[in-house]
């Protein structure tokens, strides 16, 4: 008996280094050599956390030796709410997931329900979805770069330039959908309202102007020595780890993995457009920043083509029912390449007007899981930068 006890005692004895890595262990503050380990709670009200997100960081001097992400401060029961109401009633709630890109959220959810019910989407609606989706990507990437530079200490300038362009895109959204951010635009089997000719003309004009903005942004930032010194070689995410952790979107492509759902899945009408998928070479924060800038340009290419080819026709399938339908029992998973990564909605129907299970696969949350691996060994000041390069929105992380 005493032998067994002593055996179990030694089995639970962990080496010092492992003790520090245990994410659910209470943190032990003890001297490590000469330096003292300091536990810092960054957030939930730290301005660099893009919302209410906390990182429990253990520091050895300036060096990060452990980082524990804590989220859930913005949890609002999105998935369970979805199970208690009709399919349509969840649509405006999806706007509030990633509140920067409400239109791509609408799209992913509409796609999942259309798969579940076998609903077809008219041609013009598909084009409108691509147009608003890519406009969303442009404004998301521009402002996420702005936020990243803001986190670096360049208060204002790049972010204000990004917001200046975002404002124009949001005005277009308001004219089309009635709201700037909570658009609630897509429906199962099409889009809610049609775009007028003047709207399309103004969008064409804006898309013609945006490459100049991308050039300006590039001159402003890309060769800036301070930015390069801060971002290059920082927060390296190896492709193997990125793939294993399920990281998607610009994060994954910055790690050199060629995976874009627009190319892989061909959802909607993306196989008709000619665009490239930029890939990173050095897997660091600078690559993630550059990938977003390059993707912004590719989005503009898609927008040009879509605005040229958009056909006339209805935007809503006349047979589509927006309320009171009961999908046959079954399941469906609709996924799109949202600006932040793979956004998927998984629905199970039991034949009732409400979904039996409603699950969101948020790109921000999955991309956040490797935060500790990217931060270990870096300075505490770089943690802010690395988090900024992940591009999270807490509405989506916590749901």
């Amino acid at each position: 008996m005493s032998q067994l006890q002593s055996h179990s005692a030694t089995a639970h004895e962990k080496p010092e280094s492992q003790k520090l890595e245990g994410w659910n262990q209470p943190m032990e503050l003890q001297p490590d050599g000469e330096a003292e380990i300091l536990e810092v709670a960054m957030g939930p009200h730290h301005p660099s956390t893009h919302g209410v997100f906390r990182m429990d960081v253990a520091l050895d001097g300036e060096r990060v030796i452990r980082l524990k992400p804590v989220f859930g401060y913005l949890h609002r029961n999105h998935e369970k709410l979805g199970e208690g109401q009709s399919y349509l009633a969840s649509m405006p709630y999806t706007d509030r997931l990633d509140y920067i890109c409400s239109l791509t959220n609408n799209w992913a959810y509409a796609l999942a329900v259309e798969k579940l019910t076998g609903q077809a989407v008219p041609e013009r609606a598909e084009y409108l979805r691509v147009i608003v989706g890519e406009l969303t990507r442009v404004q998301n990437h521009a402002s996420s770069i702005g936020f990243l530079i803001q986190d670096m200490g360049a208060s204002g300038t790049p972010l204000m330039y990004a917001f200046r362009e975002r404002e124009k895109i949001l005005d277009l959204f308001e004219e089309l959908t009635g709201a700037r951010m909570m658009c609630n635009y897509m429906r199962f089997g099409g889009c809610r309202v049609d775009a007028t000719q003047s709207w399309l003309d103004r969008t064409r004009k804006l898309v013609g102007e945006l490459p100049a903005f991308a050039d300006e942004f590039e001159t402003l930032l890309c060769t800036n020595e301070i930015l390069m010194a801060r971002t290059q070689g920082v927060g390296i995410l190896k492709p193997e780890l990125a793939v294993n952790a399920g990281v998607t979107g610009p994060m994954l492509r910055a790690s050199g993995v060629n995976y874009d759902i627009r190319k892989v899945d061909h959802y909607g009408i993306y196989d008709r457009f000619n665009f490239q998928v930029p890939l990173g070479d050095h897997w660091d924060v600078y690559d993630r920043f550059m990938i977003r800038l390059l993707e912004l340009r590719e989005s503009l290419k898609i927008l040009e083509q879509a605005l040229k080819e958009i056909p006339e026709g209805p935007v809503m399938d006349p047979k589509a029912k927006i309320r009171g339908f009961r999908p046959k029992p079954g399941e469906a998973y609709g996924r799109i390449e949202a600006p932040k990564g793979e956004l998927g909605f998984y629905l199970i129907s039991d034949g009732s007007p409400n979904p039996y299970r409603y699950r969101v696969r948020p790109p921000s949350l999955v991309n956040l899981t490797i935060l500790e691996d990217m931060c270990l060994g870096n300075n505490v000041a770089d943690v802010v930068l690395i988090l900024g390069s992940v591009d999270i929105v807490l509405g989506e992380v916590d749901r």
Binding site: S90, T223, R323
Partner: protein
């Protein structure tokens, strides 16, 4: 050269700084509330109930079918049906909402109530200056506060209201034509009935 990128970036900022004083389209500040920008037609914020004619209570289009109450995602609508009925725009007797409350502190301006309403009775307003010192009662709008005339609807969403009015005029014309036909048919039937009823009366004579 070290610092070249920095200087290039500074040149961009300098250009933008100078341009912000010259270019008219970049002077975007509007001195609210003295100045206001023209509202965009599709804009929406909170719902209101449309009424026809002068009397808001008699003209309410709502028939208290409670579809919006059921479909409202945050469940901010509360409706109580009336016990009696009143005629609607085509003269059909309908129940009406004895109580219709919207808690606009809960409403999330999603427009689903407008989309599901089969009677064109609830529409989105563009009135945004709704601040109040009473955060409970002041934000719970009853049917008197919600009722706004069709003229108001035509003013804020002209295109949409034009379509709705045309559709309703069509429905009304159809209903009137039908009522006329029904009346004629009923009259003819009554006449025929009178005719068939007459001979036996004559025979009995």
């Amino acid at each position: 050269m070290l610092g070249e990128g920095l200087l290039k970036g500074l040149a961009v900022t300098a250009k933008n700084f100078a341009a912000s004083y010259v270019s008219a389209e970049r002077l975007t500040t509007v001195q609210y509330p003295e100045e206001r920008i023209a509202p965009i037609e599709a804009t929406r914020d909170f719902p209101f109930l449309v009424y026809d004619g002068e009397d808001w209570e008699a003209g309410l289009r709502c028939v208290a079918c409670q579809i919006c109450e059921k479909e409202c995602p945050p469940k901010c609508i509360y409706i109580e049906k009336s016990k009696d009925k009143k005629p609607d725009f085509v003269g059909k007797m309908q129940i009406y909402p004895a109580r219709f409350d919207i808690d606009i502190s809960v409403c999330m301006s999603c427009q689903i109530c407008v989309e599901v309403c089969p009677f064109e009775a609830i529409k989105m307003d563009t009135e945004f200056e709704l601040s109040t010192t009473d955060r409970f009662g002041g934000l719970l709008h009853d049917r008197r506060a919600l009722a706004k005339s069709n003229g108001h609807y035509r003013k804020i969403h002209p295109t949409e209201a034009g379509e709705v009015d045309a559709r309703r005029a069509g429905e009304k014309a159809k209903a009137e034509a039908k009522a006329k036909l029904d009346a004629e048919a009923a009259a003819a039937k009554a006449a025929a009935a009178a005719k068939t009823a007459e001979p036996p009366a004559g025979a009995g004579d």
